[in-house]
Symmetry: D2
Subunit: 346 residues, 4 copies
């Protein structure tokens, strides 16, 4: 059985492992105050062309989201998110657990929200005389790519950021698969653009070659003070912080993070091209490493004999969109085998 | 500079690293539902002679404490802890952040609490007619070893557990350094005894040879239901849960966890014996891998030229107790060098 | 200016005030442990034909909702509510502030939810293998009447309650205007039926003749233990609890609470009948004391010169549904004057 | 039986009741946006000689404390309080329920804290390199009078306030019995001084002649923004806010609030003087309306036949300090009767 369920089925890239092995038995300061962490922070600043950002390494995505969002909001404030957003659908109420409502927006069918939706929510709230009877919308959460694998174009992000600025609220980008977005053929955003396009974001390691770990970048000065308290209080300040920093050191060497993203995207695209030749339609256009072919149920059952994947959306009695999540570790031969298995069973 | 500041300065034991390397590029199910996790859970059950416990792997100690304690308590309930307890002093208000008060007990000078203290708090609370004006004491937190490196004897733990049962409240043991406690020459507790001595405990990996990771064992059936929801909601359900399980697999092979604990304890004891020969007193008796020699300030300053360690408690104008935390990775030669440096500078 | 904005514009019914005056300077025990509170609790039990319920008096509706819901749910659990429900729209995130997500259901256009909607949510959740990645639906919140003034029929409530029982989750009824529901000509529910139709409910005083105060009734034994701790911790245990009990004593004498509800409903119905004669349509059918005539904007502007009311829903360019909330204190003459003002301005 | 248990046993002063009766059936805007509330807010500003403060009316003391403190603190911050402080001892963990630790200070035996204690906590915290491992001390809570009835002198308060300013943290005063403090013969503080001596305080109504209600005054501009959201979210924004404002209108007429405080204090002092003549000692000096005579147990038992009061502190086998809390409603004849009952039973 081969799994297309997700991109975190394999432990890590070999370069990550050898980087870990390289420091064994050396001593480092705890809680991210060591020299490796400092060095990797500087590397990130250099990649972002910005020395003013703050950088933290956190063990997982849900934790990064809950620490970040709860650090920004006042008790009575809420975060805006697409209704398909990860915080709204797959984090077990982590944000609500910190006391905050998520105000959900109906995105278009690719999971992306628009600046105009933010504008509408903000205007409606503040023109209401009894506004204090509803939570105050106070920040925007998006992920890039979205849960549908779609990516934001520069112009779209710029419009969202400007709308946020107009309303004096921050924009936070969940980048669990940010490498895949940046590496997308469809993307016109560079890594260093992000410091101008949002107030805080994280670059995911878990879904792109690390054993675990996400790299949070705080851009807006307003949210920097005392951030380590937030981390510690939420159980997110790791004793051996250097173990995450080191993995990112490996991922940043020769832009491995982008190479891995590119590889996953490429293989995803390759499947799309080959299935399209067989007249198989897709739920949404491929832009990163997640694809959603619409297959008939017989074919799906047949494929399940060899592959693991999630059913995503029932189309009708006979058809269903499935999700294939292509990993940085997925090799071309398994891609070809899968395509062939579709071909002979269609 | 050599650091005696803590026992999490080194990445991990070589066997942990080679265990990780052994599975690279293989695929595993996410979120701890994989075969490795299952296998290691079974190994733990076997070590505990108990098939009925539930086992979870969590990234760090503060996170494990906050998930566990908040999963047990109702909103209006409080946890009892020694006032030197980790949750009361070094977790940045993580427990209060989940809504609960910590009721602190003055322990004796070794950081241990007694059954009679629990009894007193419980009796006072429930005999108060206006009891609902104070948080209800509803569980007991201890760590073994304590923050002073002291360990609980079987009889002491048994008395605490029985007092808890009498009051129908659970006992939770923070085992960040549990291996060191179990491996202590002074300990009369076996690993498998724990299933009878408490309701929930964790065995620490971070401070005993793992890169990261703690192993939580839920014994009492009352606290098992829906536990994975608690984990996910607090950001504690790791995507690659197998990466922690695997490290514990290494730690359990040939009882490596106990061997590492024994080594650290032995080296701690060796320093104590040698310094005692120099008439250096200690704040508390050595029982595990933390020791607290009382040194004069001139000697402390001199030692700081080569070693890192924390000042623990000012004794008087001229003397201070320092903490030396001996790591599983600390080798005999550095121990001898340190002893010698004390000798020549005393 | 006369206000139809809400039913809490007037201080209280004269009988409430004279009941308060009757005990002045007498001494009573604090925090609801006094003889008046006991007497009124017994009165309620008698009205409900049930000696087994627990009764509490709380200062306001949002507070009652947040104490009740947070007392029932475990940290990872969520409450189901119509998306027009008060907790979802007008309580400033009070429920989320206690850590819980509100899962919203699209109700029909009268604001009522159906048993089948609960069933669907529950089934979807528990058949999901990865269910712990979403908050667990664990109780149902409805209000009777709804935000649209519509009321639940016995059969509808029974079906909802049975669906809850099938799923082993409780049903909580927000009864801010429960008197008006019970007094409705359309209602086939008696006050005493409620002990069989839900697990917890409150009967509102604030919107039905009291200065302030809601009466919470806990029916299900599972939710009774230690309830006073919840009250105290949320700031909801009033020092002079007897001041609320006393107001309810007045409201229960000669069924004043039902009489006031009946009066408000009757006046609402009268407006509906008269406006219907003028061919004015309504957004929803009148069932209690809130009505929603659809008026053209010119008429609305004209009426605003003499009356206060809320615009509820824009129908089109020229028409809008307004909300008229008829108070227990609203007298027939003002009702007639309003009708006449519509007539001459239509 | 006559109760000296507390000062909230009687409903309210007659002038409060007649003020309520005076507006019956008139209509007012909801949620504190009415003309009465506005008028009384202006009255308070005038009494404080300060037009810049914000004023809110809240139903009870615990609620006022929890809204205020949670509105000021960031998630990782803690509040300093005497260990005998009401928030630390009698609010069922209300502050912890909002996520914050209370750092307790050992006060002197009168329940008062000193500026130097604040200084010490702040210095210790910020000089710690690992400060983010403990909650950040970020505001100071005191009550005036304290739980022992003692009052702060101008100089003491000034020193505390200046220490707070030096550390850039706010001072909050719980004034549940502030009228009694202001009316104390021992006090050198005027009501209008408070705007210079703290950042936020409340003046209690519940314990000084109102049915219910506390008046919160926000002085520091930093804590004013969006305060009504905090109130609503915590269930503290009353529908009929005017019903509290109106009670304070009565209390402010001819300084009734000070007159009632003076009366209670005077009667307390009278008991002290008479019992002192009988050589009865007191636990602490009388400064407001709470007194703590040390009586032998036989006398205590005898007095319990006619009076209700709390045992406060066991002195030895034979003696106990009891608390007598003198109400604004306690009349001279009962005071004399009590003194006589002591005299004949001593």
């Amino acid at each position: 059985m081969y799994s297309f369920r997700n991109d975190y089925s394999e432990l890590c890239h070999e370069k990550v492992l050898s980087k870990l092995a390289s420091i064994n038995r050396k001593q480092f300061d705890g809680y991210g105050e060591d020299e490796i962490t400092l060095k990797v922070k500087n590397k990130i600043k250099s990649l972002l062309n910005n020395n003013n950002v703050d950088v933290y390494f956190i063990s997982g995505g849900t934790q990064t989201n809950l620490v970040s969002i709860s650090s920004i909001l006042k008790p009575y404030q809420a975060v805006l998110s697409a209704d398909s957003g990860h915080i709204a659908t797959h984090e077990a109420g982590a944000i609500e657990s910190t006391g905050h409502k998520i105000i959900t927006l109906k995105p278009n069918n690719t999971g992306k929200i628009k600046a105009s939706q933010i504008s509408q929510i903000m205007d409606n709230h503040f023109k209401d005389e009894a506004r204090e009877h509803t939570p105050q919308p106070a920040m925007v959460y998006i992920s890039n790519p979205t849960e549908f694998g779609s990516i934001y174009k520069y112009k779209e992000l710029k419009e969202i950021k400007e709308e946020c600025e107009k309303n004096n609220i921050p924009l936070y980008i969940d980048g669990a698969r940010l490498s895949q977005a940046l590496a997308s053929e469809k993307s016109d955003i560079k890594f260093s653009d992000l410091v101008n396009l949002c107030d805080m974001f994280y670059l995911g390691g878990t879904k792109n070659g690390a054993i675990f770990g996400e790299c949070l970048v705080v851009i807006n000065d307003n949210y920097k003070k005392d951030f380590r308290y937030n981390l510690k209080q939420k159980g997110a300040l790791m004793a051996k912080g250097f173990s995450i920093a080191l993995q990112f050191e490996a991922l940043f060497e020769n832009n491995l993070f982008l190479e891995l993203g590119k590889k996953a995207n490429y293989n995803a695209k390759y499947i799309v091209e080959e299935l399209t030749k067989m007249n198989i339609p897709f739920l949404v256009e491929q832009e990163s490493n997640q694809i959603f072919p619409i297959l008939n149920n017989t074919l799906i059952d047949k494929l399940r004999e060899k592959y693991l994947f999630y059913n995503w959306q029932v189309i009708d009695e006979n058809y269903c969109a499935i999700r294939l999540c292509i990993s940085w570790a997925t090799e071309k031969d398994i891609i070809k085998e899968f395509i062939n298995d579709v071909k002979i069973n269609i």
